[in-house]
């Protein structure tokens, strides 16, 4: 691990654990939502940033994870996270296996569109059939506890989400450092060469796709339990688009980038929606969000993650080692 990574993680951990003691109920709730988006963005980062597969249907796995917990816990007296969470993750993973096995036959833009198509299928199945409660969605009346401990208070649930986030962070960190993760990076940079070296790239990509779907399912589970409510919008292409925007905004190719992107997206949304700053104009918050996204593309081609390198090279006139290694990687 590099020094910058360790510093980032330690600072993040301290800030996130300390935050609830300063913030109000609303702040905790907002932070929980943002952390869940962080997990969701991390799941996509494994596909887009590491493997180079742009999936435009990530919301399907998120939604399946969310719907699974609501549907199953409705029939239980004492729902518990210990078995509900694995079921959610497993179902999302199974759908990811199905989608991945078929869609990985295509490439590039066609892959983007096939994953979108499969997500839309899941959307319409939930939207049009009785299992999902139709357009209105369903409520989760009986919130799952964790080994008998209640997760009903927002602080408890925040801490649980935080643990999940760090687990995902650690897992993905291990994956990207491992032989398997190196192979995925190799596939992103030059798939043909990886095949020539003897890797069955299809299997590697499928594996990454399923892991990513499972993590998205985890995020969906957390989202459903947090809100106590699910509706078909959780599977819509808007959400798939938004999470893609988050990781591009943050900067591709780094786990931190995905997290920073999710955070920045949520912050921007909160900022432009705040009536304290914008008064009645806050109703049109999409305008500010859209303009800042456009500005980001224009001035930060490598995402928010690239800001320190830009500052470094303009202020000091030098190029950092990290910067150069990245440029090489892109080539």
């Amino acid at each position: 691990m590099k020094k910058s990574q360790i510093i980032f993680i330690v600072v993040l951990l301290i800030a996130l654990i300390g935050l609830p003691f300063l913030g109000s109920e609303y702040a905790i709730d907002w932070m929980t939502k943002t952390l869940i988006y962080g997990i969701f963005a991390l799941s996509l980062e494994l596909l887009v940033g590491t493997t180079g597969l742009v999936c435009f249907g990530q919301a399907a796995f998120f939604g399946i994870g969310a719907y699974a917990v609501v549907n199953i816990s409705a029939d239980l007296d004492v729902p518990d996270t210990v078995y509900l969470l694995p079921i959610s993750i497993l179902l999302a993973g199974l759908y990811a296996l199905f989608v991945g096995a078929l869609s990985l036959r295509t490439k590039g833009v066609y892959f983007i569109m096939v994953t979108l198509a499969f997500a839309q299928m899941a959307y319409y199945v939930i939207h049009d059939t009785p299992i999902g409660g139709g357009t209105d969605g369903i409520y989760l009346y009986n919130k799952p506890s964790l080994l008998g401990f209640s997760l009903n208070s927002s602080l408890a649930f925040y801490l649980f989400t935080l643990v999940c986030l760090f687990f995902v962070f650690a897992l993905l960190g291990l994956i990207t450092q491992s032989r398997f993760g190196r192979a995925l990076s190799g596939i992103r940079i030059n798939e043909l060469r990886m095949r020539a070296v003897g890797y069955e790239t299809y299997n590697y990509k499928l594996m990454a796709f399923v892991i990513s779907g499972m993590i998205a399912g985890l995020a969906g589970y957390l989202f459903a339990v947090k809100d106590g409510f699910v509706n078909p919008e959780l599977l819509s292409w808007h959400l798939s688009g938004a999470v893609l925007i988050m990781i591009i905004l943050g900067g591709l190719g780094h786990l931190r980038g995905a997290f920073i992107g999710a955070f920045a997206f949520a912050l921007l949304e909160e900022f432009f929606r705040s009536e304290v700053i914008f008064g009645s104009f806050a109703k049109y918050w999409h305008l500010g969000l859209g303009l800042s996204i456009i500005l980001c593309v224009a001035f930060l081609p490598r995402g928010l993650f690239g800001i320190p390198f830009i500052l470094q090279s303009t202020l000091l006139g030098t190029k950092s080692a990290d910067n150069e290694s990245q440029i090489e990687e892109i080539k």
Binding site: L116, Q120, V125, L244, I248, L287, I293, I294, V297
Partner: protein, 294 residues
């Protein structure tokens, strides 16, 4: 299903398919030639509808003009807008990664949608059908078919023919077709690529806006109307093969039929059908039905 219902649904399918073709044609050309994924293309369709809504009372008041002059003014505005947007935003995207394009055009969707909200508000509006097109044709005792829908199909076919002639018979069309097959090659043959891009972009935007204008009287005008069209059009572009106008035409008509008849025959699964069809096509032919340039 008796014959007249079948006839009505067939006409509806053709009309819907042709309308989608107008939007998808611009999308596939912009994608095929400039390599830009233009997520904001649906927003231009929406813009066209709102132009029809905003312009038609003004045009009627100014010199008593009707639908045709509204369309004409709307198309001119759309061309100017397309030209300006290409110059201001899109021209920076050609060298960029696909994901950057997705990000920026997503930002544009949000901006256009909010500007629309500020200017016109979020209500659903209607656009009146002019008197000379508001009649209906009687099919049997109970069923009739509105003339305006036939008018839409007719105009779309006319426009598709013009597009076909321009693309296959003129020098400009030749350059566009060549550009969609190999960009670098025509650049090195001395074609002014920047100019070509700007023309294709402005034309694509104008056609999408025109589709929105023609559709406005039947579909009414409402917020977010562009986004549903956008996703369907991406499906069409991908089924037809990126950069292929012929593919886009055939795929649009297929989607028009599947969607319209799906809603009549299998209403429970109508929403899924289009996507199932696309998945099947792509699994059978992983890069669409037709090659670029055809």
């Amino acid at each position: 299903m008796d014959f007249s219902t079948f006839l009505i649904q067939t006409l509806n399918s053709v009309q819907y398919g042709l309308l989608l073709f107008l939007v998808a044609a611009g999308l596939t050309l912009i994608f095929g030639i400039m390599g830009v994924i233009n997520l904001a293309h649906g927003s231009f369709y929406m813009m066209g509808s709102y132009l029809a809504f905003g312009l038609s009372p003004m045009v009627a008041e100014a010199y008593g003009g009707g639908l045709i002059s509204t369309f004409f003014i709307g198309v001119v505005i759309a061309i100017i807008l397309g030209y300006l947007l290409e110059w201001m935003f899109y021209s920076y995207l050609y060298e960029r990664d696909h994901l950057q394009q997705v990000l920026m055009t997503y930002g544009l969707i949000l901006v256009i949608e909010e500007i629309r909200s500020i200017l016109v508000g979020d209500d659903v509006h209607g656009v009146p059908i002019p008197d000379w097109l508001s009649a209906s044709i009687k099919l049997n005792e109970v069923m009739t078919y509105p003339v305006y829908r036939l008018f839409i199909s007719g105009v779309c076919i006319l426009l598709a023919l013009v597009m076909f002639l321009v693309l296959s018979k003129t020098k400009l069309g030749m350059m566009i077709r060549a550009g969609s097959v190999n960009r670098e090659m025509i650049q090195s043959l001395g074609v002014n690529i920047k100019f070509l891009y700007r023309i294709v972009f402005a034309a694509g935007i104008a056609i999408a806006a025109f589709a929105g204008m023609v559709a406005a009287p039947v579909s009414s005008v409402y917020p977010g109307m562009g986004q549903g069209v956008l996703i369907i059009c991406f499906v069409i572009v991908v089924i037809g093969g990126i950069g292929s106008i012929k593919g886009a035409l055939i795929a649009s008509l297929l989607i028009g039929f599947i969607d319209t008849f799906g809603k009549v025959l299998l209403p429970e699964v109508a929403g899924v059908l289009v996507y199932v069809f696309m998945a099947v096509i792509l699994l059978w032919k992983p890069s669409g039905l037709f090659k670029a340039g055809s």
